[in-house]
């Protein structure tokens, strides 16, 4: 029917036979000799000071090897990169001193099985002193409650983008339309949660990683946080990924599992359960609100447009999420799309 060899032909995917016969190899199918399992203790508070963490009962539980808190973890690893120029805004897998969102990890329990690790995680006692919280981007801009006080404000990034002669379009307009749009935080929900298996070889000083990952710069960021040279991290990219849709960027999970693998001399497995995937997985779509303005003339219905967006990237900004509670000055954040330029020239 088609004149082409490939185009217009029904073709099969190479990977489908192994998926329909149960021979896929996803991260939860990776099993290494001596592998230990990680369960997490998460904050029930959106904003709180951590007054005390008591781990003795958890450590005494059957099959438990270690209970890791932010004190130890942050002392031996570096903050993850946040992607903006705000050096005092740090981000680790485990909270230290304060929690900044509900679901933030406070402790990690390592045990012989996930079930035993979960049993012990329930025995970790954390004393929280709740603090005021801020969730609305415009309220965050007012700065009455600072998410990272050391930074001095809630504005992490502010930038003006201008394409084309936008001011002129507004100046010459017959009509000006203005409206406000807002949308809530969103997240994708793949059927497979994020997971990672990490193994440290003390002889070769190589970290092996198997993960449900499709994130750029994943080995580089893992190496940097662990204070390793870039060529000491080997990511096995042949692991099948059970859906992502943008949410699978488990860099914090990876650094945590890798640190524990090296610390305890045993391969580590951390597989999110559905609850962790939905609250602790922090690669979500941002809350945003935007004032939008659009001028038009008798001949041009859409001469230009201007947006003054404020977006929150959440409590801990992440690489590639470049704006957090930031807002360009309304009169300055002007954009004109190539399409409106074209219509103007006609």
């Amino acid at each position: 029917m088609s004149a082409y060899r490939y185009i217009g032909k029904g073709r099969r995917a190479k990977e489908h036979p192994r998926f329909v016969t149960g021979r896929g190899r996803y991260v939860a199918d990776i099993s290494l000799l001596g592998m230990k399992h990680i369960a997490l203790v998460a904050s029930p508070h959106a904003s709180a000071r951590i007054a005390a963490i008591r781990v003795d009962a958890a450590l005494a539980a059957p099959g438990v090897h270690h209970v890791l808190t932010g004190e130890e973890f942050c002392a031996h690893t570096d903050s993850l990169q946040i992607g903006v120029d705000a050096p005092k805004v740090t981000r680790w897998a485990l909270a230290r001193g304060v929690v900044r969102y509900a679901g933030e990890w406070v402790a990690a329990v390592v045990a012989d099985s996930r079930a035993l690790a979960e049993d012990a995680a329930e025995l970790v006692e954390v004393d929280y002193q709740p603090l005021p919280q801020v969730v609305d981007p415009e309220e965050a801009l007012e700065g009455r409650i600072l998410v990272h006080p050391e930074h001095g404000s809630n504005i992490l990034y502010r930038r003006k983008f201008v394409w084309g002669p936008v001011e002129e379009a507004f100046a010459g307009a017959d009509h000006r339309l203005s409206f406000r749009a807002s949308w809530g935080r969103s997240a994708t929900v793949p059927i497979e949660t994020f997971g990672v298996v990490a193994s440290w070889d003390a002889g070769t000083q190589i970290l092996d990683i198997w993960a449900s990952i499709q994130m750029p710069k994943y080995p580089d960021q893992t190496a940097r946080a662990l204070r390793l040279p870039g060529n000491a991290v080997r990511v096995h990219y042949d692991v099948d990924v059970g859906g992502s849709y943008g949410v699978k960027r488990g860099i914090k999970h990876t650094v945590l599992a890798a640190y524990l693998a090296r610390r305890l001399g045993a391969p580590m497995r951390l597989i999110e359960d559905r609850l962790e995937n939905m609250r602790g997985g922090d690669m979500q779509g941002r809350t945003a609100c935007s004032t939008c303005r659009r001028p038009s003339t008798a001949t041009e219905r859409f001469a230009a447009c201007a947006f003054a967006p404020s977006t929150t990237s959440g409590p801990t900004p992440v690489a590639r999420r470049c704006s957090s509670a930031s807002r360009s000055a309304p009169s300055a954040a002007l954009t004109a799309s190539p399409r409106s330029s074209t219509s103007r020239s006609r």
Binding site: G24, P62, I191, G242
Partner: protein
């Protein structure tokens, strides 16, 4: 937590399997971790997504909502057990490949189990019956249409 182990005997994909399991061990964890039948997937762990579906005496059930001890004396079929005796693809598995009834493959074992259980009981299902049968299985990649196409194709190929 109780460390008491309970003896179970289950026929899995035609083979008798015996084991000593704690009462709280789920069927899906037993299949995956002890028998290493990793084709059955864990998605939500509370009976919503259907990724862990297996057949129990020919009926599709959630392996995350059953304890391994409850399978004692029963017959379990996993996605690995759907293949032909020589390991080749069944008509249904082949139809999923033909219609692109999958992308990431994670929900696929559960979909296949739900669809095969339907076809075993009802070899000529209507489209509504197909949709009803896979109604308890979530897929994020396909939008379901190609999965329905696959089941319909498989039904048309058999006998």
């Amino acid at each position: 937590m109780s460390a008491t182990l309970h003896p179970i005997e289950v026929e899995v994909n035609g083979k008798k399997r015996s084991s000593q399991v704690p009462a709280r061990l789920s069927l899906v964890d037993w299949l995956r971790d002890e028998l290493r039948l990793t084709g059955t997937h864990v998605g939500c762990e509370h009976g919503v997504c259907g990724a862990c579906s297996v057949m129990l005496d020919g009926e599709a059930v959630r392996a995350c909502l059953m304890y391994a001890v409850q399978a004692h004396g029963h017959r379990v079929t996993t996605v690995e057990g759907l293949t032909k005796p020589d390991g080749g693809m069944s008509p249904l598995q082949d139809a999923f490949c033909e219609t692109h009834g999958l992308q990431c493959g994670y929900c696929t074992p559960g979909m296949l189990i739900a669809a095969q259980a339907l076809l075993d009981a009802n070899p000529r299902p209507t489209e509504n019956e197909i949709r009803e049968a896979i109604g308890g299985n979530l897929c994020r990649c396909t939008g379901y249409q190609q999965i329905v196409d696959a089941v319909r194709l498989a039904a048309s190929l058999v006998k």
